[in-house]
């Protein structure tokens, strides 16, 4: 599984990345987490608003910090 956290590196984006990492660890899934900070690359996903989470190319959430539980529901497919 390939997870990308989009955001230029502000506090909200870091918090999102923390939640994603915690969720992955707890779910015990083999996944790579990548932080995308480049504005053009973020825009390339078509997201209007950061932080955003993309899992396997699919945009899961935009413009808010998802909770750990929320991230787990995305991982459990």
């Amino acid at each position: 599984m390939e997870i990308k956290v989009l955001g230029p590196g502000c506090a909200r984006c870091r918090q999102t990345a923390d939640h994603v990492e915690a969720a992955v660890t707890e779910a015990g899934i083999d996944a790579t987490i990548e932080k995308v900070t480049d504005a053009m690359e973020i825009a390339g996903y078509g997201v209007f608003g950061t932080p955003a989470v993309v899992i396997d190319g699919e945009v899961k959430c935009v413009g808010k910090i998802p909770s750990k539980e929320e991230v787990k529901t995305w991982l459990a497919i």
Partner: protein
């Protein structure tokens, strides 16, 4: 931060400690001035102005639906709407500076195009709720109002000019799917949300209510005398609304996001105030930079002074809100009102690091055009305001 940048920072700090002649009278006076200015902020502005403003910013971030604004930035949006929304949406969207650049890149590449994107980029930093409140409170409501109006009007002009200059390239944009922040279903109606925001704003207004001059009419004096009772009554109304209309989760989110802004902005603002105090001092108290330099470069309302203010503002980096104490210092040292507005308009919208990012998004040619437009328009705004404000 990599280990090497840490080393560079520590090296710089060490050299500052080692080489600055701290015992020199001018340095001592400036050092004291820095902390006097910090105390002035702590006593006059933090409790009654900044704290309520942070809660308003937090409420906007959590309770105002971003999707309802952002849909006007889509590729199919009507142009007139896109420009108008872009020029004012900074109030809702730009409180966190980290959302501005990705959103700009998104609007430019996937959405309504270069015009609305640059309009948003220009007005965003100037019309978010924290910037307006602090400018109006510290630099006077006239300058606060001029900043807001100037930012909105010139944002539209900049955007339209950019769209006209680069109209050919604008056609080739990709029309792909865009993702907006989702709209969460809410338990409150729009009037309830509006009433909640209004109460917050009124609390801010009354808490920050300045003592009227001696000769003003009875109404203002009466309002000033009653301001703490009115603010207290409003707080009770606010508590009742929070209890009845909001879920526990929403209240938590609100406090969390307000706290997030405070954590992010207070240290920067504190450092900015210390720096402004050290270099420029409070009004009437000279510090490191002699006042006659400021007066000869930025005094009056000449074209030269306005141009110098906007060019230096365009290159200088201002961390969120720090433009306000720096301007306070400059105005105290003799800067004219026109150049002050020019700096306020050009400063936060552009900086050298920010130009590099924008350059990465839309190329050097467009970035240079955009920067020149901003400098010219800000100079013009300063000239007009300087003429009016005398």
């Amino acid at each position: 931060m990599t280990e090497r940048t840490k080393l560079i920072w520590i090296g710089l700090l060490f050299s500052a400690c080692y080489f600055i002649p701290w015992s020199h009278p001018a340095i001592r006076r400036s050092g004291v001035e820095a902390f006097m200015m910090l105390q002035e902020y702590a006593r006059e502005h933090v409790l009654t102005c900044l704290i309520p403003a942070f809660f308003i910013a937090g409420a906007i971030a959590v309770f105002v639906s971003q999707a309802s604004v952002l849909k006007y930035f889509g590729a199919q949006a009507r142009k007139i709407l896109a420009y108008s929304v872009a020029s004012v949406s900074g109030t809702v969207l730009a409180v966190c500076s980290c959302t501005v650049l990705p959103l700009f890149a998104g609007i430019y590449t996937r959405g309504a195009g270069i015009g609305p994107a640059t309009a948003f980029l220009y007005s965003g930093p100037a019309i978010n709720v924290l910037a307006i409140t602090l400018t109006a409170k510290i630099l006077g409501w006239q300058l606060g109002l001029a900043r807001a109006i100037g930012a909105i009007v010139f944002a539209i002009i900049t955007g339209l000019l950019m769209a006209v200059i680069f109209r050919k390239e604008d056609l080739a944009r990709a029309q792909k799917q865009i993702y907006l922040p989702e709209d969460e279903n809410k338990s409150r109606t729009l009037p309830q949300d509006a009433f909640f925001m209004l109460t917050l704003v009124l609390i801010l207004v009354f808490a920050a209510f300045a003592e009227p001059a001696q000769d003003t009419s009875g109404l203002w004096t009466a309002l000033f005398a009653a301001k703490w009772y009115i603010a207290g009554g409003l707080l009770i109304i606010l508590a009742a609304m929070l209890k009845n209309w909001f879920t526990r989760d929403e209240r938590h989110q609100w406090v969390d996001s307000s706290w997030g802004y405070m954590k992010q902005i207070f240290p920067l603002l504190g450092a900015g105030v210390l720096l402004a105090g050290f270099m420029l001092g409070r009004p009437g108290h000279p510090a490191l930079i002699p006042e006659h330099y400021v007066q000869s470069w930025l005094g009056g309302n000449s074209i030269g002074a306005n141009l110098f203010a906007s060019v230096s503002g365009a290159f200088m980096y201002f961390a969120t809100l720090t433009e306000v104490p720096i301007l306070q210092g400059l105005i105290g040292a003799g800067m004219g009102k026109g150049p002050a507005l020019a700096l306020l308009l050009a400063g936060p919208a552009l900086s050298l690091p920010n130009m590099l990012v924008i350059g990465g998004v839309m190329g050097i040619k467009k970035t240079v055009t955009f920067s020149c437009l901003i400098v010219l328009l800000s100079t013009l705004a300063g000239l007009i305001y300087g003429r009016l404000a005398v």
